[in-house]
Amino acid sequence: MFVPGRRLPVALLWATLVGVCACGDDGAADRSGGTASGLDGTITVFAAASLTDAFGEAADAFEEANPAVTVELNQAGSSALREQILAGAPADVFASANPSNMDQVAEAGETAGEAVVVAHNSLQIVVPAGNPGGVEDLEDFADDDLLIGLCAIEVPCGDLGRAVLADAGVTAAPDTEEPDVRSLLTKVASGDLDAGIVYVTDVVAAGDDVEGIDIPAGVNVVAEYPVAALAGSGEPEIAGAFVDFLLSEDGQAILTSHGFGPA
């Protein structure tokens, strides 16, 4: 007959023993997981929209280095991701396009340890290939005859874009304020807008469909991308390893190839 009271402690004992073995002996991982790192599981990474391509590649490289690991990416505007995390969405890593969203997540006690900056970005004027509107610099953003797009002020690229325009003393006449940087980029790439202000990395991502016009260093801003493993993660080891990977030489090489400034 089954007697729970007698079997449970035995089971616990076994679990403890196995646990001790796994922790005490680095070699144990090779036997149990069959991978070099011993990491085995799935993590969900919440990454800002502007990180879409770079993080896709970084996730692939991380999975290649850890064959038993799957990285799932959830990409949206940083503030939308912040809201999802604060509402209890199952996320293991958060990569924000600005410090303020990360700070709010950290203040809510949702991060595990300090956030680290893994990349930098700056802004550029983006125009469709061939520059049909003849846009030259930020002054053109005040031109009513051009179709001008900005990001909405509620999202980081809109906030930074307005700071740049204010520094340049330009009162912009936008025709639309897009809810995220990718939708702005898409409308410029399709020729539905004459110009917009996006991240340098977005111009790289859009390839031949668009052209970038540099904003003078004096008025340009530098955006920081802080990343943190999250406290609610069911796979804290993998989450930590992914953050470390982003800071590693390989991770940084991927990020800079997409136009990001190094950590």
Binding site: A152, E154, E177, P179
Partner: protein, 268 residues
Amino acid sequence: MTTRRGAHSQRGRPPRALVLLAALTLTFLLVPFAALLQRAPWSGLIDLLREPVVTEALRLSLISACLATALSLLGGIPLAWMLARTDFPGRSLVRALVVLPMVLPPVVGGAALLFAFGRRGLVGGPVYDGTGFLLPYSLWGVVAANTFVALPFLVVTVEAGLRSADLRYEDAAATLGAGRWMVFRQITLPMILPSVVAGAVLCWARALGEFGATVTFAGNLQGRTQTMPLAVFLALESDREAAIALSLVLVAVSLAVLLPLRDRWLAA
């Protein structure tokens, strides 16, 4: 006075299984609204309603939803009539195509509208080059997006009304010498009025809440193209309480319009 409608018309208790499932469904529909009410920032609600961003978005939402409904009525009733009363090759295909916007993710619908009526679009390109007229980034762009997404709701409802209407009245009128146009105006339209109103209500409500197609096609600019759903979405990025309050305003406005309508038309 007794009526033939509703609970009075049937004897005995309603079956328990139906009542239970109906109650569960209602709960599922209403709990999220209760949760919304519970999170609402009641104290700041009045101040919020006075902010230009809210009043302008509300005005744009109401205007564009009404214009989209008017356009849908103008074009949708004839389309529904064609589908229900005439026979032409490929009718089933046309009917399937008409409901496409219901299935299409609205953002894709918005992109499709851009490909068609955008500055470099199939139709929009030549029109812009010739006249300088551009639908996107204007109120008419919002109306176009709303109409594209909401029109099928009207067509489907009105067509169902036409199909269930008794054809004998139309036949009798025709026998008495009325032309098809006269039959349509004098007999058909009054007979299917409840379906038309129901379809218009669905269409209006769908247009009022439209987000994806609008933001993709018409863009987002306060006072010009920013409707309530767009304002709510952006408020959510920075201020969750404001977003909840705005959603409640939208819900309240639609209830204020729909409740009297339902009593007057749909239950008549």
